[in-house]
Subunit: 152 residues, 2 copies
């Protein structure tokens, strides 16, 4: 799991500027295992920074995601969720209350597990983001091509 200090250091190393807004956004994200959306983080930070713009939250999170410092995914509710935990793990998504939590144990067995951590599992979606052979070749050839906007 990322710590705020670690994130700040990495962003600086990458040449990014660390503003007070970003520090607070990093804090809010790192202390949150609920896989929040940008809107949720923004709302949660309103008490501390009433003038913080939603645009700024999106920019901060997307920068991190593109740098590979956090994971971005869509659970199917039409919103983008951010996860500060970059280690491989599954997400448990309740189709009724829409809450998301990390799956505690290793997964990926072939037959769909009937139950995981008390969750009754109904469906699994496994997405592997990467480069197809063609695109890998073209990127190796130095061709800029269509820019790969993050991973997810």
């Amino acid at each position: 799991m990322r710590s705020v200090e670690e994130l700040v250091e990495r962003v600086r190393a990458r040449g990014g500027k660390v503003t007070p807004q970003r520090v607070l956004i990093y804090q809010a994200l790192c202390g949150d295992t609920s896989h929040p959306t940008a809107e949720l983080l923004h709302a949660r930070l309103q008490g501390l920074l009433p003038h913080l713009s939603l645009t700024t939250v999106y920019a901060a999170l997307n920068d991190l995601a593109e740098a590979g410092e956090l994971r971005r995914f869509q659970s199917g509710d039409g919103q983008v969720h951010y996860d500060p935990d970059t280690r491989p793990h599954a997400e448990l998504i309740c189709v009724r209350c829409r809450r998301i939590q990390d799956a505690p144990a290793p997964h990926g067995q072939q037959p769909l597990p009937a139950e995981v951590a008390g969750f009754r599992v109904l469906a699994r979606t496994e997405l592997l983001h990467g480069l197809c052979p063609d695109c890998a070749r073209e990127m190796a050839a130095g061709e800029p091509g269509m820019e790969a906007s993050g991973v997810g």
Copy 2:
């Protein structure tokens, strides 16, 4: 893999009405391993049914998805993709050209595989959709609650 006849039969059994539009939509989907979006299928059917509405395509696909006859997922490009193959398998998504294909072999190993079917894998997202303990209990108690709109 679903056949068109199988789908038609299941929809009828479920009490749904099978219109010529839906048959063509099912055909277009079942003969497509590219995990098309509703818009793509709609565009592809324009030659056969110039007056087919995009709304109709969405309705047909979402009905099937809610009945569990096909899979719905968002690859991260902001669009909803439909997969007629309901068997558990991973999707290979190129972050550069955005193309999607099915992973041929079983996956879910804990360490991220460096390469799958020629794809250089950069990140994995595994989503388990289901019912959390609270919601499972409340549904068992007969409480209608928030309706679980499909799975993905």
